[in-house]
C-alpha cells in the first residue's frame, strides 16, 4: 500500500500463508489417522500388552482347616510364614537377577537357580517359590533391596502348626508342596505346582476339605515390580474345620505312657460301639512341624533312612502275627459254629499231637474249659478247637471280626490284614492247605498277619456284641463357620451272630485274664472290670544264630487287646509294643489311658502318674538303638508314606 507492487506482494503473502495452512491440515490429518490406527484398529493388541505390563495376580494361600479334638480343643492351627517368590518376567537379565537374589538371601546361587530351572516350562509371569518359610532376616534383606531385585516378592502365607513335638503325628500326618507326580492325580484336582497338600494322615485323607480355596489379589505393579495399588481381592476361604474323635488328654496319656515304658509300637483306643478313635499312636514318630517349616534335606534323609521307620504308621501299615490274641477268634468261631459249648473241656498235658505232629503248650494246664483256657491262654485247648474247625471257617469268622482286608479307617496307606484260607493257598502257592497249618493259625501263628488297627476292630466287635464297626477319626465338620455338622458314621461292615451265653463266656474269660490268674493283671482297674488278652508275636522263626549274625532285635512283640467295662463296654483297643518280649508289658500303658478315660467320663480329675511312669515321663523318645524290626510275618512291602521326589533343601 505504501509502495508499488504492494497489492501483488500481499497476494503472494496470502498464497503462502494458505499453503502453510494446507500443509498443517495435512499433517494434523495424518496424525489423526495414525492415532486411529493405534487406538482403534490395533487397540486390542496394545491393551493386552498394557495389562501384562501392570497387572499382577497374587495367589493368597487359604489357611487349612483347623483340627479340633472331640471336646473342642485346638490341635492343629496355622501361623503366618513368609515366602519369597520370583517371576522371571520382571528380570531383564536372569543370571544377574539370580546372583543378586542369592546374595540378598544369603544362599548359594545354585540353590536359587534350581527351582527357577525346574519351572522353566511355566509362563514367565508365574511366581516361582524360592524360599519357603523365609527367615525374618531374609525378608528384611529382600524388602530393603526391592529396587535391585525386580520380580522378587515376599508373600505372607499361612503355615501349619502342630502341637508339641510329635503328639499324634500319625493322626495328623503332615503337609508338603504337591509333588510333580501328584499333580495329575484325581486326588488333587485342579492344583498347580507350589500348592501345599496333605501328604499323609488326616491332612491327606481330608485334604480337599481342609485346603479351602485360595484367594487372589489383583494388584498394579510399577515397572520394577513394586506393588502400587490393590485393585480387588478375592479373599481366601479357610479350609473346613474338622472335629476329630481324638481326646487330647487320652492322646497325651497314651504317648506319655508309651514313652515312659520305653517301647516303640502302636496303639488305638476306640469307642467300641461307634468306632470313634479316642487316641491312637505309632512310635517312633516325627515332628510334623518340621515339614510345614520347609523340611531340611538332612532331616528328611534321617527320617527316610532311619531303620526304625518313623514315617511308617505301624497302626495301619505294620502287619504282625497276632499270637494269642487270635485265640479269641478261634473261640468265637468254634462257639458260633456250634462245635463246642463254653463248658467244653480239654486236658492239657503241656501240648498235644495233631495230624501226627506234636504242638507245644507253654505249660501243663490240666483240665480247662473255655473261660479258663482264655484266662491262662492254653494252647492245647485252642489246638483242639483248631482241629475241629476248618481253616476256611476260621477265615470266615476272622473276616467278620475285621481281621481280613482293610478296616476302612480314614487314614491313607492302610495295609490289608490277612488270615490264610484254602483258596489263598491254592492261588498263591498252588498247594493244598495242610490241616496241620490250621493248628498254628488257631493260636495266631503261621498264615496270619494283621495290622494292630484290625485287632482293635476285632476286640471292639467282641466288646459291642458282634457288630464290626469302622474305626474313624473325624466326628464332625464345620464347613463354613456355621457350626458342627456330624459326619455320617460308617455303616457296620459285618455282624457276628453269637448267642448271649457264648459271648458272655468269651467276655468272662477275657475278664479273668486281667482280674484272675491271667497275663493281663497289670491292666486291672478297681471297679472297672477290664477285660483283655495278651499276645506275643515271634519276631523270628529262624535259628537264633542267624538272627544274631544279622544283629537283629529278636525279642518278641507284645500285644494287649482289651475293653472295659466287661458288661457294658465303653472303651476298647489295642496296645502293640515292639520287642516288649510279652504282651503283658503293654498292659500298664492301656491301664493308664483307660484310667484317664474313666476319669474324664465321670468328671473326675485326671489320674496321677503311676509310679513306673514318674521317673521317665518327661524323657524324650527312647532310643533303643535297635536295628530294623523284622517280624516273622510279612512287613508292609511298600510303606504308603512315599518319599517326595524333591525334598526341599
Amino acid at each position: 500500500m505504501l509502495f508499488p507492487g504492494a497489492a501483488e506482494d500481499r497476494r503472494d503473502l496470502r498464497t503462502r500463508i494458505g499453503a502453510l495452512r494446507v500443509m498443517a491440515v495435512v499433517c494434523f490429518g495424518v496424525l489423526a489417522v495414525a492415532f486411529w490406527i493405534l487406538q482403534v484398529i490395533q487397540h486390542a493388541k496394545y491393551e493386552s500388552w498394557a495389562d501384562r505390563n501392570a497387572l499382577r495376580t497374587i495367589s493368597l494361600r487359604a489357611p487349612r482347616g483347623v483340627l479340633f479334638d472331640r471336646h473342642g480343643r485346638v490341635l492343629v492351627d496355622n501361623r503366618d510364614s513368609f515366602t519369597i517368590v520370583f517371576s522371571r518376567e520382571g528380570a531383564a537379565d536372569l543370571d544377574d537377577a539370580i546372583r543378586r537374589l542369592a546374595e540378598a538371601i544369603g544362599w548359594p546361587e545354585a540353590r536359587v537357580r534350581e527351582p527357577i530351572q525346574r519351572a522353566k516350562g511355566a509362563p514367565a509371569f508365574r511366581p516361582i517359590t524360592i524360599v519357603e518359610h523365609a527367615t525374618l532376616q531374609q525378608v528384611v534383606a529382600v524388602k530393603a533391596r526391592q529396587l535391585e531385585l525386580p520380580g522378587v516378592e515376599v508373600l505372607q502365607v499361612p503355615a501349619r502348626t502342630y502341637p508339641e513335638a510329635g503328639l499324634a503325628a500319625h493322626v495328623f500326618g503332615y503337609v508338603g508342596e504337591i509333588r510333580e507326580d501328584q499333580i495329575r492325580r484325581a486326588e488333587f484336582p485342579a492344583l498347580e505346582a507350589g500348592a501345599m497338600v496333605g501328604q499323609t494322615g488326616v491332612e491327606r485323607a481330608y485334604n480337599e476339605a481342609l485346603m479351602g480355596e485360595d484367594g487372589r489379589r489383583y494388584v498394579v505393579v510399577n515397572s520394577v515390580g513394586r506393588e502400587i495399588e490393590k485393585l480387588s481381592q478375592d479373599d481366601p476361604i479357610e479350609g473346613q474345620r474338622l472335629q476329630l474323635t481324638i481326646d487330647y488328654d487320652m492322646q497325651k496319656a497314651l504317648e506319655d505312657g508309651f514313652r515312659a515304658a520305653g517301647f516303640n509300637g502302636a496303639a488305638a483306643f476306640l469307642d467300641p460301639n461307634t468306632g470313634e478313635i479316642l487316641a491312637m499312636t505309632s512310635l517312633p514318630a516325627y515332628d510334623p512341624n518340621v515339614f510345614s517349616g520347609g523340611i531340611d534335606r538332612t532331616v528328611w534323609a534321617s527320617l527316610t533312612t532311619d531303620s526304625l521307620n518313623p514315617l511308617t504308621n505301624r497302626l495301619v501299615q505294620g502287619r504282625y502275627a497276632p499270637g494269642s490274641t487270635f485265640k479269641i477268634v478261634t473261640a468265637i468261631a468254634a462257639l458260633g459254629e456250634g462245635l463246642v459249648t463254653p463248658d467244653f473241656k480239654v486236658n492239657c498235658t503241656g501240648g498235644g499231637t495233631f495230624y501226627g505232629r506234636f504242638f507245644q503248650c507253654n505249660r501243663s494246664h490240666g483240665v480247662v474249659d473255655l473261660r479258663h483256657a482264655i484266662e491262662v491262654s492254653c494252647n492245647t485247648f485252642f489246638y483242639t478247637l483248631g482241629e475241629k474247625l476248618k481253616i476256611d471257617t476260621i477265615h470266615e469268622y476272622a473276616k467278620k471280626l475285621g481281621l481280613v482286608g482293610k478296616t476302612g479307617i480314614d487314614l491313607p496307606g492302610e495295609q490289608d490284614s490277612f488270615v490264610g484260607s484254602t483258596a489263598w493257598k491254592l492261588r498263591e502257592h498252588k498247594e493244598q492247605w495242610y490241616p496241620g497249618e490250621t493248628i498254628s493259625v488257631s493260636i495266631g501263628q503261621g498264615a496270619v498277619s494283621v495290622t494292630p488297627i484290625a485287632l482293635a476292630t476285632m476286640i471292639s466287635t467282641v466288646a459291642n456284641g458282634g457288630t464290626l464297626v469302622t474305626p474313624h477319626l473325624v466326628r464332625a465338620i464345620d464347613a463354613d463357620g456355621q457350626g458342627w455338622k456330624p459326619v455320617a458314621r460308617p455303616a457296620p461292615r459285618a455282624k457276628v451272630s453269637l448267642s448271649l451265653p457264648d459271648l458272655q463266656a468269651v467276655r468272662d474269660g477275657l475278664w479273668m485274664v486281667v482280674n484272675g490268674a491271667g497275663t493281663g493283671g497289670k491292666a486291672r482297674i478297681e471297679g472297672r472290670d477290664v477285660a483283655g488278652k495278651t499276645g506275643t508275636a515271634q519276631v523270628v522263626s529262624l535259628t537264633g544264630a542267624r538272627a544274631a549274625a544279622a544283629k537283629m532285635d529278636v525279642r518278641h512283640h507284645g500285644f494287649f487287646v482289651f475293653f472295659a467295662p466287661r458288661d457294658n463296654p465303653r472303651i476298647a483297643g489295642i496296645v502293640f509294643a515292639e520287642h516288649a518280649e510279652h504282651g503283658s508289658s503293654a498292659a500298664p500303658i492301656a491301664k493308664y489311658v483307660m484310667e484317664t478315660f474313666f476319669a474324664k467320663q465321670d468328671g473326675q480329675p485326671l489320674p496321677p502318674l503311676p509310679p513306673w511312669m514318674k521317673a521317665v515321663v518327661t524323657s524324650p523318645v527312647p532310643a533303643p538303638g535297635t536295628p530294623n524290626p523284622e517280624p516273622r510275618t510279612r512287613e508292609p512291602r511298600n510303606p504308603a508314606t512315599p518319599e517326595p521326589r524333591n525334598p526341599r533343601r
Partner: protein
C-alpha cells in the same frame, strides 16, 4: 504501553481461550501422571506447573501490552541478551540430567534456550520486515541464516539438540512467507537432507544416535532406547477409542512410560481420554494454528506477519514432532509439547509468544 480500551475489542478471544484450554488440559494430565501413591497426592511437578501458568499468563499480558513493533525495533538487544544468556549457561549453568541448560535468577531457574524461538522470530521479523524486499535473494537468506546459526549452535552444544532444531522451522517459516523463491527453498531443504549424515558423524552424541537407530528398529533393544518407543505405542494404543478415563492411566502412572509428565504427556492424554481426547486436542492445536495464521494474514505490516509466522512455525513444528513421537512414530527426543508438557520456562515463553501473536492481530488497525 497501556492497552487502550478500544484495542481489547480486537483481541482474539477464541484463540486465547483455545490456548488456555490446552494449558489446562496439560495441567490436568500432569496432575494425573505425577500422582504419588504413597502420599496420595499429585507430584511436585503439578504444583510447579500450576504456579507457572499464572506467571505465563502475566507474561502473555505483558507481551500483549507492549507494541510488537517496539519490540521488533529493539530485537537486536534481545538477541544479544539471548546469546549472552546462552554463553553464560554454557560456562556457568546448572547441569541437570546431563545437560547444561539452566540458569538461576533470584530463585527461579529457567532455560534461556526456551526463549530462543521468540527472539529469533523477532529479529527475523525486524530483518525481513523493513523495506519491501523480503527475503528473495541468497544474501537475505544468508543474513537470516547467520542470525539463526549462532544461538542454534550454542543451544546444540548444551546439549539440547531438540530445542536447537526447533529454531530452524522459525527461520524456514519466516523466509517462506517472506517470499523466498521455491527454487531456493528446495535447495535449502535438500542441503539439510544431504547434510544430515554429516550431523550423524560430527554433531550427534552417541545417545542421540542410539535413539535414532533404535527408532528404526525398536525391537533391537526393547529394554533400552527402543523400550520407550514400544511403551509409547502401548500407552497410546491401550487407550482405545474412549480412553481409560481421567487418572486411570496405567502406563504413565506406574512408570512404564518414562518422563510421562514431560516428553510423553500426550501419550498419557491419549491413554486416558482415548481417540476422542486426541481429536479434541489436535483440533484445538489446529484451531490455534489457524487463528494465528489469520493474525499473520491480517497484520498491519510485514514485521507483524513475519513475527507471527516465525513464532507459530516453531510452535507447530514442536507440536507435530512431539505428538508424532508420543505415538512412537518418531525417534525419542527431549522435545516437549508446547502448552501441555511439564516445564515452567517452556509454558511461560510459549504464552509470551501468544501474547505477541494476539498483539499483532489486536493492532492491525493501528499505526
Amino acid at each position: 504501553m497501556i492497552v487502550e480500551r478500544r484495542l481489547s475489542a480486537h483481541l482474539d478471544w477464541p484463540l486465547l481461550a483455545a490456548v488456555v484450554a490446552l494449558a489446562l488440559i496439560g495441567l490436568a494430565t500432569i496432575y494425573s501422571v505425577t500422582w504419588n501413591f504413597r502420599l496420595d497426592q499429585p507430584g511436585q511437578q503439578f504444583w510447579t506447573q500450576l504456579y507457572a501458568l499464572p506467571i505465563g499468563l502475566a507474561a502473555l499480558v505483558v507481551a500483549l501490552a507492549i507494541d510488537y513493533r517496539t519490540l521488533a525495533q529493539r530485537s537486536l538487544i534481545f538477541y544479544a541478551l539471548l546469546v549472552a544468556g546462552l554463553i553464560y549457561v554454557a560456562v556457568n549453568g546448572d547441569t541437570r540430567m546431563g545437560a547444561q541448560r539452566w540458569m538461576t535468577i533470584w530463585k527461579f531457574s529457567f532455560q534461556p534456550s526456551e526463549f530462543g524461538r521468540i527472539v529469533i522470530a523477532l529479529v527475523l521479523a525486524m530483518t525481513y520486515g523493513e523495506g519491501r524486499r523480503g527475503a528473495r535473494t541468497l544474501g537475505d537468506l544468508a543474513i537470516g541464516g547467520v542470525l539463526l546459526g549462532v544461538p542454534l549452535l550454542l543451544i546444540q552444544q548444551q546439549p539440547d539438540l531438540g530445542t536447537a532444531v526447533t529454531l530452524i522451522p522459525v527461520y524456514l517459516g519466516v523466509v517462506f512467507v517472506a517470499g523466498i523463491r521455491l527454487k531456493w527453498l528446495v535447495i535449502v531443504s535438500l542441503a539439510a537432507v544431504l547434510l544430515s549424515p554429516l550431523a550423524w558423524f560430527f554433531v550427534m552424541e552417541d545417545y542421540q544416535k542410539e535413539r535414532v537407530s533404535s527408532f528404526l528398529d525398536p525391537s533391537k533393544d526393547p529394554r533400552g532406547a527402543g523400550h520407550q518407543q514400544i511403551q509409547a505405542k502401548v500407552t497410546v494404543g491401550s487407550g482405545g477409542f474412549l480412553g481409560k478415563g481421567f487418572q486411570n492411566s496405567s502406563q504413565g502412572r506406574y512408570g512404564f512410560l518414562p518422563v510421562a509428565h514431560n516428553d510423553f504427556v500426550y501419550s498419557v492424554l491419549a491413554e486416558e481420554h482415548g481417540f476422542i481426547g486426541v481429536l479434541v486436542t489436535l483440533g484445538l492445536y489446529l484451531f490455534v494454528l489457524w487463528r494465528s495464521l489469520d493474525a499473520a494474514r491480517l497484520s498491519n505490516d510485514r514485521a507483524g506477519t513475519f513475527l507471527v509466522v516465525g513464532i507459530i512455525s516453531g510452535f507447530t513444528f514442536q507440536v507435530l514432532y512431539n505428538i508424532t513421537m508420543s505415538a512412537g512414530f518418531a525417534p525419542v527426543k527431549g522435545l516437549t509439547l508446547p502448552l501441555m508438557s511439564y516445564g515452567g520456562s517452556s509454558l511461560v515463553s510459549t504464552l509470551a509468544g501468544f501474547g505477541l501473536i494476539l498483539g499483532v492481530r489486536m493492532r492491525r488497525f493501528t499505526n
